[in-house]
């Protein structure tokens, strides 16, 4: 078995503040992480289409971090589309959101999200959350298509 050399993470998030926070939090992981950031569901789909044709600028992500609350195509619709795609459905999608609405949580799991994480109040707490997340997906778990 190959050890996991480098993780490509696609962050689908429109808020620049949250983009920065995530970027910082993922920067200090044991396994080198390449973070690709897009600001909307539409951009994310375009990115993933490019990754299918092995575009070097758009490497296929091993993990997708998805904000639910975005303008334009919302997160749930994006999740639905990814999971319908024979090629892309194998990429785990972890939902990051401010919503505590039980209906949102339920729906995401029904749409096959691989985790539902509420964005934390403080950067320190969020750092801890991301550390656990990275450990689970990049060390404990074997990602498909690595």
């Amino acid at each position: 078995m190959d050890t996991f050399k480098r993780a490509v993470v696609l962050l689908v998030e429109d808020d620049p503040g949250d983009q920065k926070l995530l970027s910082k939090a993922l920067a200090n992981q044991e396994i080198p992480t390449e973070l690709q950031i897009v600001g909307s569901g539409e951009e994310a789909l375009e990115y993933l289409l490019r990754s299918k044709s092995r575009d070097e600028q758009s490497p296929r992500p091993n993990l997708i971090l998805l904000d639910l609350n975005m303008p334009g195509m919302n997160g749930k619709e994006f999740l639905r589309r990814i999971k319908d795609d024979v090629d892309l459905c194998a990429i785990p999608v972890v939902v990051l959101t401010v919503s505590e609405a039980e209906s949102d949580i339920q729906e995401c799991y029904e749409l096959h999200a691989a985790g539902y994480i509420r964005k934390s109040a403080t950067p320190e707490e969020f750092q801890r959350v991301v550390k656990t997340l990275a450990k689970y997906w990049f060390a404990t778990s074997s990602l498909a298509g690595r």
Partner: protein
């Protein structure tokens, strides 16, 4: 961060040694947990059907740990059934298996497994893997509400 009163895990595993290892690992964890063990796909499926009735004896799991390599209804078939069932599909299923086949890994994720863990070789490795799994699923991740309700209403 909020945690559940007691989390319910269903382990689907035919190997007695591995059942013991997982049990031991969960016993060390600080979060109160109840581990139900099914020795095969048929047992697990029967358990999950009973759990739909909301009875205290067979609570719906918050997480399912599934070995792929089992006789009878194998892990892949069970995963397929769970994800096709409207009442069960939201429960995260994590594969915990000896297989390191890329094809198995890919197929599991395509069937919407929420993680694929190759069984560690050492006891310490097991402890660490289960600890990280618990931290991820029961500390930082939000649980499925309908499952959570069933778990807390006992």
């Amino acid at each position: 961060m909020e945690t559940l009163k007691e989390v319910v895990i269903l382990l689907v595993e035919d190997d007695i040694g591995d059942q013991k290892l997982v049990k031991k690992s969960f016993e060390r964890e600080k979060i109160a947990n109840k581990l139900h063990i099914a020795g095969g796909g048929e047992d697990a499926w029967a358990y999950l059907q009973r759990s739909k009735n909301g009875d205290g004896q067979t609570p719906k799991p918050d997480l399912i740990l599934l070995d792929l390599n089992m006789p009878g209804i194998g892990g892949k078939e069970l995963l397929r059934r769970i994800k096709a069932d409207a009442e069960l599909s939201a429960i995260p299923v994590v594969i915990l298996t000896t297989s390191d086949s890329d094809q198995d890994i890919l197929n599991s994720f395509k069937l919407q497994a929420s993680g694929y863990i190759q069984k560690p070789v050492t006891l310490q490795g097991f402890y660490e893997a289960i600890h990280n799994l618990e931290e991820y699923w029961f500390v930082i991740c939000k649980q499925v509400p309908s499952v959570k309700e069933a778990a807390c209403s006992r």
